[in-house]
């Protein structure tokens, strides 16, 4: 699958969980991705992010890197 399509799918998932507090959203997105995506899909998306992809939602990046949640303002700014 193309990285662009995977990014778009992941962004859709982020759109749903955005209603939740950022930390909870990131955890939920992470859980959703590992529950339903093949390892290859996750690898492709991770590589896409590592290459500096611009279109990936900040919450998705958060979820995949397992980093602590940013402040709400940061997410809003980065989620375009």
């Amino acid at each position: 699958m193309t990285p662009q399509k995977l990014a778009s799918m992941a962004n859709q998932i982020a759109d749903f969980f955005r209603a939740y507090p950022a930390a909870e959203a990131a955890t939920s997105i992470h859980r959703h991705l590992v529950t339903f995506w093949t390892p290859a899909m996750l690898d492709t998306l991770r590589a896409h992010i590592a290459e500096g992809a611009q279109e990936v939602d900040a919450l998705v990046i958060q979820a995949l890197h397992g980093a602590p949640a940013p402040a709400a303002g940061q997410i809003a700014a980065g989620s375009g």
């Binding site: 699958m1 998932i13 759109d15 959703h32 590992v34 529950t35 339903f36 093949t38 290859a40």
Partner: protein
Amino acid sequence: MNGAIAMGLIKEIDYGTPVPAGRRTITLSIDGEPVTVPAGTSVMAAAMMLGTKIPKLCATDSLEPFGSCRMCLVEIDGRRGTPASCTTPAEEAMMVRTQSPKLATLRRGVMELYISDHPLDCLTCSANGDCELQDMAGAVGLRDVRYGFAGANHSKSPKDETNPYFTFEASKCIVCSRCVRACEETQGTFALTIAGRGFDSKVSPGGMDFFGSECVSCGACVQACPTATLTEKSVIAMGQPEHSVVTTCAYCGVGCSFKAEMQGSTVVRMVPYKDGRANEGHSCVKGRFAWGYATHKDRITKPMIRAAITDPWREVSWAEAIAHAAAEFKRIQAKYGRDSVGGITSSRCTNEETYLIQKLVRAAFGNNNVDTCARVCHSPTGYGLMTTLGTSAGTQDFASVDESDVILVIGANPTDGHPVFASRMKKRLREGAKLIVADPRRIDLVHSPHVQAAYHLPLLPGTNVALINALAHVVVTEGLVAEDYVRERCEWDAFDGWARFIAEPRHAPEATAKLTGVDPKDVRAAARLYATGGAAAIYYGLGVTEHSQGSTTVMAMANLAMATGNIGRPGAGVNPLRGQNNVQGSCDMGSFPHEYPGYRHVSDTDTRALYEEIWGVALAGEPGRRIPNMLDDAVEGTFKGLYIQGEDIAQSDPDTQHVTAGLRAMECIVIQDLFLNETAKYAHVFLPGSSFLEKDGTFTNAERRIGRVRKVMPALGGLADWEVTMALSNALGYQMDYAHPSQIMAEIAATTPTFKGVSYARLDELGSIQWPCNDAAPDGTPMMHVDRFVRGKGRFMLTEFIPTQERTGPLFPLILTTGRILSQYNVGAQTRRTENSQWHEEDVLEIHAVDAESRGVVDGDLVRLESRSGAVALRARISERMQPGVVYTTFHHPKTGANVITTDYTDWATNCPEYKVTAVQVRKTNRVSDWQARFFDEDIALTRVALPPAAE
């Protein structure tokens, strides 16, 4: 005894009038014998409980008593005259005589009058051997007709043969009104009436012929007719059946129980089985009549292979086809890796067959690349209900609707898609339950005979979440939450967060009206009705799930139901109407790439260890590919081989040109099907499938009801589908060894907690079983979440409305939405090969008059329907059911190519395609589209079968 089943024609007991369910009983005496019956039972039914058959003609226990034929007269102590036993309720201590010289004379006299105006061609009559009139003439000892036959009579009445499946032979009619009442009471269509008065009284389908009338050909009238008047054409052609076998219909998710009435291994007719709990003796035109596809000349009964899809197919032996398929899969896995192949299970195949396919993929292929057609229909139901309630299934049984006070139908068209359940629902609506319909179209249910929706909320396609949120907003802000229920049953913190979220003004009906187009006053009124009108049930279909927010809508509905206390009690619930007969079962059986049977994740080490032990092989612990992922990866060259059982993704899946590009890119596609379907054009191995008449197994319907499918004829291709999968697995080097599907079910029960108590013996004993069936519920579970939710506490989810990315604009200003029609079934592979096509020969585009006029389109014009995915041409039908800006079509005919138009947008959680919202343009045209032109070429080029070499 070796367990042989006594063969014979199953005849259910006819009590003459419905038997009430009440607990209070009364005791009376009939012909000196005491009998205890539920209060409200008629004298006629009470007698039958003793085995005493009171003569009758106009009475049958599927219909309310009518009291017109005067055959069922009895004598009752203390009563004057001879009351009709059908209309007389039994009373405590009543003394009834069913036989006396006086009664015999009266009955004989009535029968004499009937027969004085009835043809005496009994020996050559189509009902010979199955005629209640003949039986009653015998029962009352009629020996002579003193009036002669020369007087005025109806013997020259015309025969109506316009319906493809049954005839109406008016000369045989005794005007008992059973057909008229069946059409009203059982089916709820009101197509039949008694026209004329007195001697001129006659049954009439509204003053026209049957085919042109409102008759929906459900068969209820034919079933109810006591004479030859309404008779199946198959019976007229073949004569009476000699034995019958109870089985389960292979069409929609209602899962009706039928008696296959047979002559040897030939089906004479399919008759709805009264003891079947899903349908209780009712049927629709598909299950009742449209079974001829099973022996259609298009059936492929010999295995075939070819090297390239442009080669002609070559007929080979089973052994060669299986060996070739296995060798190809092994070659591909050796070259491209273990994950380069997968399988697709079918919602039209049995639980046992589905289980074997996922087992083959996981154990023989060694990956989790297995998916099923539920991906493209109800996968959001699974996700949404699992998340909120804890299990991926509807909450109620169908009978629950009998206790509903308010019914919310959203994104479903039950009278077309689930007709037998719709009849049940309409019956309840006629009794006074209130109806709310949320649908872009004015579906039949909105206004039909004696049914009028309290509110029709004609929302714009793609705004379900906004609408349900608005309903919930009203519930929360107007203080209509069932707080005690929520406190006891649900996670309070999650509820509290949800309530604050949903109370925000942006969810108010007045605010969401901009998105949904629905009058806020109606939304508020509908919300109040749902929350305060008594037991409120939600029934929904693919109009909910097949959206980019399908899973969100399912959760929003669960929120609404939990907030109002409408889960876990009779008449309420959240209920998916499943499209295909075994969608529920295929999901239960581990068809999804991320979970084993019983919805247990592949990463769950205990479950995986269990299967590793039973299957004797190491299993992959990460999710495999979903169908859209398989196709995307095929286009990209990393997915190369696919085993497809009973699915036609080239017609049924969205964005056809993307699907076929994926199929063309694969090196080995193995199709197992009844017919050379659209997907088979891209296949390299064809394995003949077997219809539901040709194998044993089980289907699980939308109410989680597991019902037996019983073999009534040998598999035309020689092997049942489960045997084919077993052969392929064995050829792949993974041994499967089952002698009968009951052994597969035993393995399922041994490994799946919710199926623990299910076995063929128990199914024979109970008739059907609703899972969970285990130690806690040995007879199954009609209603779920009764005292607590399966997940413990119900969980409210935040359901923000996110508009689909599919937008209308100057190029594509209209929204296309799609659906089904009564007479056809999904891709039409079955129903198109029956006389059902007389009702629907082609798919048409329904369009509102305003949109048509602005395009210069008149009814019947050929129009070009175009989206960013592709274009097709089809005929336009101006329809008042549409709202301006929205067009609609069905997808039953491959040449229409409805899915050439649909896009690759999918549900965020499950990748269920967004079939229901596509931005399109409509223009007049005078030719088929380029895709269709290519379709017609390839319909020949890719389906050739080589002639066998001439014999020496």
